[in-house]
């Protein structure tokens, strides 16, 4: 993990659907400041919404920590969602498209993973769940010349 530089992390509670809206706003603001383009902002905010809702619905509430990153070449955003809920018994199953334990569409974890660059789940039954998602600012794709 690169040193995260000067900017500091923001920690927000996730305990109601109003909190979900606030998390989305904060993530969007942070992503915009870091230079994410509009489509990338939309992807990151959508991923944040899915993961925050998981924290609320399945984890019984928790927190998210939003940290700006800078690896010297590009800037990024790390979101770490933690809860002390029941944990995920079968992670492979939970990561499967269409599988759901709640009333959703079963796209929360698997869908959010596709919207970011790095994704990790740390969970244990009875010990809660931490989901970490990282997105990097990527340049607008141009011609492919020079790609080795």
């Amino acid at each position: 993990m690169p040193a995260s530089g000067q900017a500091s992390a923001t920690s927000l509670p996730i305990g109601s659907d109003a909190d979900l809206a606030w998390v989305r706003q904060q993530v969007r603001q942070c992503a915009a400041q870091l230079g994410f383009g509009l489509v990338q902002q939309t992807k990151v905010v959508t991923a944040a919404s899915e993961l925050a809702r998981n924290t609320l619905v399945h984890g019984g509430g928790g927190r998210v920590e939003i940290t700006p990153l800078d690896d010297g070449r590009t800037r990024g955003l790390r979101m770490r969602f933690t809860d002390e809920g029941p944990g995920i018994r079968d992670l492979d199953l939970a990561m499967t498209d269409g599988w759901t334990s709640g009333g959703g569409l079963g796209l929360g974890l698997s869908g959010a993973k596709r919207l970011v660059h790095e994704f990790a789940v740390d969970t244990e039954p009875g010990r809660g769940t931490t989901v970490t998602a990282v997105a990097w600012v990527t340049p607008v794709p141009s011609s492919r010349t020079g790609v080795g």
């Binding site: 305990g15 109003a18 809206a21 489509v39 498209d97 596709r114």
Partner: protein
Amino acid sequence: MSQPFPASPQVPVLALGDILLVTLQGELHDGMAEQLQQDLTHRIAASSVTGVVIDISGVEIVDSFLGRVLAEIASTAGLLAARTVLAGMRPAVAITLVELGLTLPGLVTALDVDRAMELLSPREA
């Protein structure tokens, strides 16, 4: 559950003849979306509504929850003999929804409200 606001603001629903125009804007709380779903269903059943246009041009993100609510509104309206058209989705939202895996196959869409109204109005000649 804590609510920092005194009451959830209502989503405006405008009746234009037999068509209901719903304008979603900005941040939509989950509770508001579910309330809208119920309100719309009752209004469709209680009147002679034949079509529903949901304008989402002001919506910055659609996640799987809102996507499910929109699909359910359309399905429920269909059972009550009303057609639903989703209008004005932003390109960034469309790209994100496809990547998320949510392509909402049952939903009829239009690029803007005018075209959605055209889709729902009875053909002339």
